[in-house]
């Protein structure tokens, strides 16, 4: 982590110092999270389309955003980012307005996946994976079935000290926003204050804030109920069938990770070809089968077996069920207020 941070620091410095053209201009550059597509996807694409693509990795949305903003999007052709960041790229004028005729495989997307609120009609982003945020718990240790966000925010005595919450601003705040019936994108001061007060109260009942190892804590029994993304809860379910995922009655957010082509890309045809390649069911389906994330690709999802859905019930959620939830949106100026509240929560005793 330290090394990682140093490298990132150097990358940031380099990004600021040199405005563009850091990466080879000859090849298509795709930036994605580590392990978020098939390890051989790039090779397969190169072979199938006679292109030369190269994969670079980013650890977080913010990291790739920093680089894209510093370079005005030069040096990258296709980036995988979560929907609020795709929205920001579009607002900054860095995202290519998509020509759907160059992406014939877009027909594989569920009709609902063309209606996402951050980009209705998919004018600048193509959804890659989508899902929900809810409660992941050990059904053999937790009494009854949790059905409310308050089961996490104000846990029963026997659960105190055995729950975790996501640490990332938007989801941490989102849990309390949903519990109180607010929008997950609220910028209302009074609502944000109520969210803060709730989460300060909740803090004393938590084992930890955890974004990365919560499912392992469930498996070991260190935690009994955690705030989780559905895909990550599946990792726990894969190891222990007593682990279950549920969406509280107050609802969830709908998160979507997307592919964006950069306006300043110098390899637009290859970039379109890459997006089209990923949307082929056999390529897009890899994410569902291997990393247990729902993909918005109808033929890809239809190939999942019944046993697979039975083992990971949340993989069987229909698109219209997902669409019932509110998407996280870019909150612009209010991001600073969000960060501040998170600092207030973490600084409280």
């Amino acid at each position: 982590m330290i090394k990682d941070f140093t490298l990132r620091g150097v990358a940031v410095t380099a990004g600021l110092a040199v405005s563009a053209g850091m990466l080879s201009a000859e090849t298509l550059v795709v930036s994605n999270w580590d392990g978020y597509m098939a390890p051989d996807a790039i090779d397969a694409f190169n072979k199938a389309t006679d292109n030369e693509a190269e994969l670079v990795l980013h650890g977080t949305n913010e990291e790739i955003m920093g680089k894209l903003i510093a370079s005005k999007g030069k040096g990258y052709d296709v980036v995988f980012v979560s929907s609020p960041f795709a929205e920001a790229l579009n607002n900054l004028g860095l995202a290519e307005t998509l020509d759907h005729s160059k992406i014939p495989n877009i027909k594989n997307l569920y009709p609902e996946a063309m209606e996402l609120s951050h980009d209705t009609g998919n004018t600048f982003s193509i959804p890659y994976a989508w899902g929900t945020t809810g409660l992941c718990y050990r059904s053999d240790l937790v009494e009854g079935t949790p059905d409310s966000w308050m089961d996490l925010l104000a846990p029963s005595d026997d659960l105190k000290g055995k729950t975790t919450m996501l640490a990332t601003d938007r989801w941490l705040l989102g849990a309390a926003m949903l519990a109180k019936g607010y929008s997950v994108n609220t910028t209302d001061d009074a609502e944000l204050a109520a969210v803060r007060d709730q989460l300060i109260e909740t803090k004393g009942t938590l084992l930890a804030y955890d974004d990365t190892t919560f499912y392992a804590k469930l498996v070991s029994g260190e935690a009994e109920m955690v705030h989780a993304w559905d895909g990550w809860c599946n990792y726990g379910i894969a190891e222990n069938a007593d682990i279950k995922y549920t969406i509280p009655k107050e609802g969830s957010d709908l998160w979507a990770d997307t592919m964006v082509i950069l306006k300043n890309s110098e390899h637009k045809d290859a970039a379109y070809a890459f997006v089209n390649f990923i949307l082929a069911p056999e390529n897009h389906g890899w994410a569902a089968e291997n990393i247990l994330y729902k993909v918005p690709n109808k033929p890809a999802m239809e190939t999942l077996s019944e046993e697979f859905i039975a083992q990971f019930p949340n993989m069987g959620m229909a698109p219209d069920e997902l669409m019932a939830f509110e998407q996280l949106r870019d909150v612009g100026e209010s991001q600073r207020a969000y960060s501040r509240i998170v600092s207030e929560i973490k600084a409280s005793n």
Binding site: I2, F5, R8, L89, A167, L207, E333
Partner: protein, 296 residues
Amino acid sequence: MHWRIAPQIQARRMIDRKPLYLMTPALAWLTAFMVVPCLMILALAFFQRGIYGGIDYTFTLENIALVFDPLYANIFLKSAFIAGLSATIAVVIGYAAAFAIAAAPANRQAMLLFFAVLPFWSNYLVRTYAWIVMLNREGLIAGAAQWLGYDGELPKMLYTETAVVIGLVYNYLPFVILACYAPLSRLNPEIAEASRDLGGNGWTTFRRVILPMTVPGIATGFVFVFVLSIGNFVTPALLGGGQFQMIGNLVYAQFLTANDWPFGAALSMFLIAIMMGLLTLQTYASERASGAGREE
């Protein structure tokens, strides 16, 4: 008197004559990878955050003012408290260990020192995770307690402030041992003997003679642990379960989750200023101490 000053002047002249170009690679490296980035961070602190992240190049003092906001100022104070506590504990344990090593037979000292710094050869993260394995509710300590027949609920050990302090002390202890060992091993045993001859018992000898002469080592060890701890973000994140925000975590969050680089830059400048202030004080103090030692 002149025979004592002469070698110093001689030494100074020798430094002057040393070809400057020998230092050029080091200076170039420091300039390119430390001075320039630091100046960039400093400059960043005076601009505004862009609405979608990034930087809006409009001058503002808002970020600097925000550092003094009670919320963030308190996080600074809290970090300083945790760093100070860790440094104090590390000095007490480390000084005792260094004293024991310096008092050991000469042929064993190298081996003992080797064992003291051995953990340094493994990765910081691995060493920190080892504490997670030990302290967690299903971990080694809980397991050992159960094996010994204790079946009650143990207090929560991991993800507490105590766990963070344990992690910091453990990780930085070798610095203190090395810093304190140097002056302790150089102490002329005849000085302690003289003190005893003059009627000082063991404790008095230690308190009035040995301790004052090894203050520079203690100061160095303390400042090292303090400076490394106050900016640490890995240990509070892992052993504190994200529930304690130290200043390092706050800076990390501004750059990597809040996308508020200017505020992150303002916070880091203050952190660097605190560290530099302390290191300067420590250098000054140890120079004065060794200078005073020479005069005696």
